[in-house]
């Protein structure tokens, strides 16, 4: 006999009628109102400019504007794929960014965990400020500092010669370029990246820590058994977003740190786009074609990462 409390078997009569979405929105109108500025921003600065991507299939004429310029089909892409530098730039971008992602991604998590373990509030804030500060320096300033420290007569080489060691050509070495990118990236971005993970950590229910302590868990065990599992969804989302940006990012850093000696290892896609847009005859359609290709690859990477995360039992971006 079916317990009366369960009521009639709804599955036999179909799913209950869901509340219409507009009623749902009206019900929570105050919350949705808060969404409006963000939506406006997104439409104005993210969706409307997407119309400009049509330039990739046009021969852009400034006087005719984006909409009035004549269509040329895939002609711009023909020129893009003919350029061997383009293919090199694509692979170089993926190579640089994958290595950067693998090495730099754990650092903000580690820093967040370490800062979380600090019990003295003032010390914690002081460290957090120190680590976050470099984020506010532009890459032009950071590269200036780096060049001054690593140049032939810079701080590091002067110290090496003072103690009788041979000087090292840091700036002109292709082998040193990628480590330089990674180190400067870690120095500049770790503190800023840790903020999101700290926020995730602060959202963990304190009862879990109390239970773990009652059960005799050490600090390390609490980190591995309570903190990390709780921030895993945030870690996954951040990782997927980073994968989605593998084909872009890093222009300011690479452009300012590169030189003639390192041009073979610094020609990433953004630098390539800059060069074809501003250093030879203007061709906005060509640059847009390259940018569109980059965005498509980024999207494929993002969706693939999302799918893989779900396949491995984690949360993805899209539910």
């Amino acid at each position: 006999m079916k317990p009366a409390a369960l009521g009639p078997d709804k599955s036999l009569k179909g799913r209950p009628k869901s509340t219409p979405w507009f009623k749902e929105i009206w019900k929570h109108r105050m919350t949705y109102t808060l969404l409006i500025p963000g939506l406006i921003w997104l439409i104005l600065f993210a969706y409307l400019p997407m119309g400009g991507l049509s330039l990739a299939f046009k021969h852009y004429r400034a006087n005719d504007g984006i909409w009035g310029s004549p269509w040329v089909g895939f002609e711009n892409f023909k020129y893009v794929f003919r350029d061997p530098t383009f293919a090199q730039a694509v692979w170089r971008t993926l190579y640089v960014n994958i290595i950067k992602l693998v090495i730099t991604f754990p650092f903000p998590i580690l820093l967040a965990l370490m800062l979380n373990e600090l019990r003295m509030g003032r010390t914690k804030k002081w460290f957090q400020t120190v680590f976050t500060f470099p984020q506010f320096l532009s890459w032009i300033i950071v590269s200036g500092i780096v060049i001054n420290v690593l140049s032939y007569d810079g701080l590091l080489n002067s110290t090496l010669s003072m103690i009788g060691l041979p000087t090292i050509n840091f700036l002109g070495s292709e082998k040193m370029f990628l480590p330089m990118l990674i180190l400067t990236d870690i120095w500049k971005s770790t503190g800023w990246g840790a903020i999101i993970f700290l926020a995730a950590i602060s959202g963990i229910d304190q009862d879990q820590y109390e239970s773990a302590q009652i059960d005799g868990a050490s600090r390390m065990q609490q980190i591995f058994k309570v903190t990390l599992p709780n921030i895993l969804p945030t870690v996954t989302v951040m990782f997927i977003l980073n994968v989605g940006g593998l084909m872009s990012a890093g222009f300011d850093q690479i452009f300012n740190l590169a030189n003639a000696a390192t041009q073979n290892v610094s020609q990433v896609l953004d630098v390539y786009i800059y060069r074809i847009t501003f250093q030879s005859s203007t061709d906005f359609s060509f640059s847009t074609a390259v940018s569109l290709f980059r965005s498509l690859v980024n999207m494929v990477l993002l969706l693939a990462a999302d799918r893989i995360a779900k396949m491995m039992g984690g949360d993805g971006l899209f539910r």
Binding site: A62, N63, A261, S281, D283
Partner: protein
């Protein structure tokens, strides 16, 4: 109620008309006044004209009497836009494409962009009779050669290429001013190096080796024997041995009537080998390729630690060097500096044949007729002899005079330049300062004479057994996507090649091969259009 509505309608119509009239009157395309003159020949109406130049005009500078003279004479109020060198090309490109070009602007002419802009109506088209109305400009314009060629392509005048030389051309044929170096003659004497007017690249390297070995300046590790940046090394080492190694002359028609790509020529490899030798022997700075703008020459004229630097052939450059060395090192440069031209290791002189223009003036397509005419009046005056004297010497009787031999004499106090007295004289919009620098008494006579001597020597050596890269109008005025894609920053490419490990020749061959997918389509196009 109906009566009220009836009254409201005409009122609204009047108000609307008034608004429309105001908007029209204030719109960019209309002028606030004409070019009528009063009885004294002065313009009646003041016009506000926007101008974009690479001369920095600091606050308050426009108040000095020099600038006031021009503003009063042409009844102009300037809306001045300073453009930094580094962002010049980008800024102009964005302004032109977005329709925000100031009324008149200096633009570093790029042929592909020019044709594109004309095609799209982004540049002002001059009236057909402009050459009769502004004869001084027309005379200078004619000498550029480019103006007429572009008219053939576009069917009108859309640009004023700036003449490098107008009335004071130093030599014929005109050879590019680059390829003149300065070396420390006191050190040369100390190490027993002969002073000459021309050196091969290897001779200069020999000098650098000697000063590195004997260190006559007692500078130790601070000494930079050859202080070239990547650009200078291309000019004074590679181009000296391969006239088609630069971007300006990379695509050229050979004796076989077919087009070739100069960076793949064996002469370029010779230049690269010399450059690598200089680098490996420590004659070039270990980080020369990171130097920007003046860092190479500053080692010579500001720090006094360099043996050789790239100077260029203009007398004004030598004057600047003198001034800098006096100011920073407290020395008289005449005792220390020797200038010379560089020839290839095979003894042949190489350089670029110089078209008589550099950069240009362009006008907004939205400029009013009145503004255009007013600015053309100003340029025409600035191109006249009176205007040139005013721009380059200041006011007659106050800043300069003619002596009994009708020679120009500066009346400025010793050590004062016209730039000190009247900074940022941007009104010289058209004819470049190079022209007057050959006769300008504000520049030491010896410097002017040496500069002219170098120009004449270059012309002589270039035509008598030398190899000047001819300025091929067909190539220069041909624009296509393929040609545009085959444009490279050769100074960086070469620097990268000589820094690579392994065999230079093998690396160079590999590099040449890697560029073929871009170079060959451009060569094919050129051969099909202009080749035999």
């Amino acid at each position: 109620m109906k009566t009220k509505r009836k009254m409201l309608k005409p009122l609204l119509a009047v108000a609307l008309s008034a608004v429309m009239l105001t908007v029209t009157a204030c719109s960019k395309e209309s002028a606030s006044g004409g070019n009528e003159k009063d009885a004294d020949g002065n313009y009646k109406d003041k016009l506000k004209i926007s101008v974009a130049q690479t001369t920095e005009v600091k606050d308050g500078v426009l108040d000095n009497e020099f600038h006031k003279f021009w503003m009063d004479k042409f009844n102009i109020e300037w809306d001045y836009n300073y453009i930094q060198w580094d962002s010049w090309a980008e800024k102009l490109r964005l302004w032109v494409n977005s329709g925000d070009l100031p009324d008149v602007a200096s633009w570093n002419y790029v042929h592909g962009d020019f044709m594109n802009y004309v095609d799209q109506g982004l540049l002002y088209k001059f009236p057909d009779d402009w050459k009769e109305r502004w004869p001084n400009i027309a005379a200078a314009y004619k000498l550029t050669g480019l103006g007429d060629k572009l008219e053939e392509l576009t069917g009108g005048t859309y640009i004023l290429p700036k003449p490098v030389y107008y009335q004071n051309k130093p030599a014929d044929p005109l050879v590019n001013q680059i390829g003149v170096i300065a070396l420390r003659k006191d050190w040369a004497k100390a190490v027993g190096f002969e002073l000459k007017d021309e050196y091969t690249t290897s001779e200069l390297m020999k000098y650098a080796e000697l000063i590195k070995e004997k260190d006559p300046g007692k500078l130790g590790s601070k000494l930079v024997p050859i202080s070239y940046n990547a650009d200078d090394a291309l000019t004074n080492i590679i181009m000296a041995n391969s006239e088609h190694s630069r971007v300006e002359s990379a695509f050229y028609k050979g004796e076989d009537g077919k087009f070739h790509w100069g960076p793949a020529d064996p002469e370029t490899l010779t230049g690269l080998k010399l450059m690598q030798k200089a680098y490996k022997e420590g004659l070039l700075n270990p980080e020369f390729y990171t130097w920007k703008n003046n860092e190479g020459s500053d080692n010579f004229r500001v720090k006094g630690v360099a043996g050789i630097t790239s100077l260029g052939g203009l007398a004004s450059y030598r004057q600047d060097m003198d001034k800098n060395m006096k100011k920073n090192l407290g020395v008289n440069s005449d005792d220390l500096v020797h200038t010379a031209i560089v020839v290839g290791d095979d003894g042949k002189y190489r350089n670029l044949e110089q078209p008589n223009f550099w950069s240009s003036l362009i006008f907004s397509p939205n400029i009013s007729k009145e503004k255009f005419e007013r600015i053309m009046d100003l340029i025409d005056y600035s191109t006249s002899q009176e205007g040139q004297l005013l721009l380059n010497m200041g006011f007659e009787g106050k800043d300069w005079k003619y002596d009994e031999n009708k020679e120009l004499v500066s009346l400025l106090p010793e050590g004062t330049s016209l730039e000190d007295k009247y900074p940022a004289r941007f009104e010289g919009l058209y004819v470049l300062g190079d022209d007057f620098s050959t006769i300008n008494p504000a520049i030491k006579k010896e410097y002017r004479e040496t500069a002219i001597k170098h120009f004449q020597e270059k012309a002589k050596l270039g035509t008598e057994g030398g190899k000047l890269a001819t300025y091929d109008w067909d190539v220069q005025l041909y624009d296509s996507k393929a040609k545009s894609q085959a444009s490279f920053e050769y100074q960086n490419e070469y620097a990268n090649l000589i820094l690579q490990s392994g065999d230079l020749e093998a690396n160079w061959k590999k590099w040449v091969q890697s560029k073929q997918s871009l170079v060959q389509p451009a060569l094919d196009e050129l051969n099909s259009k202009f080749g035999k």
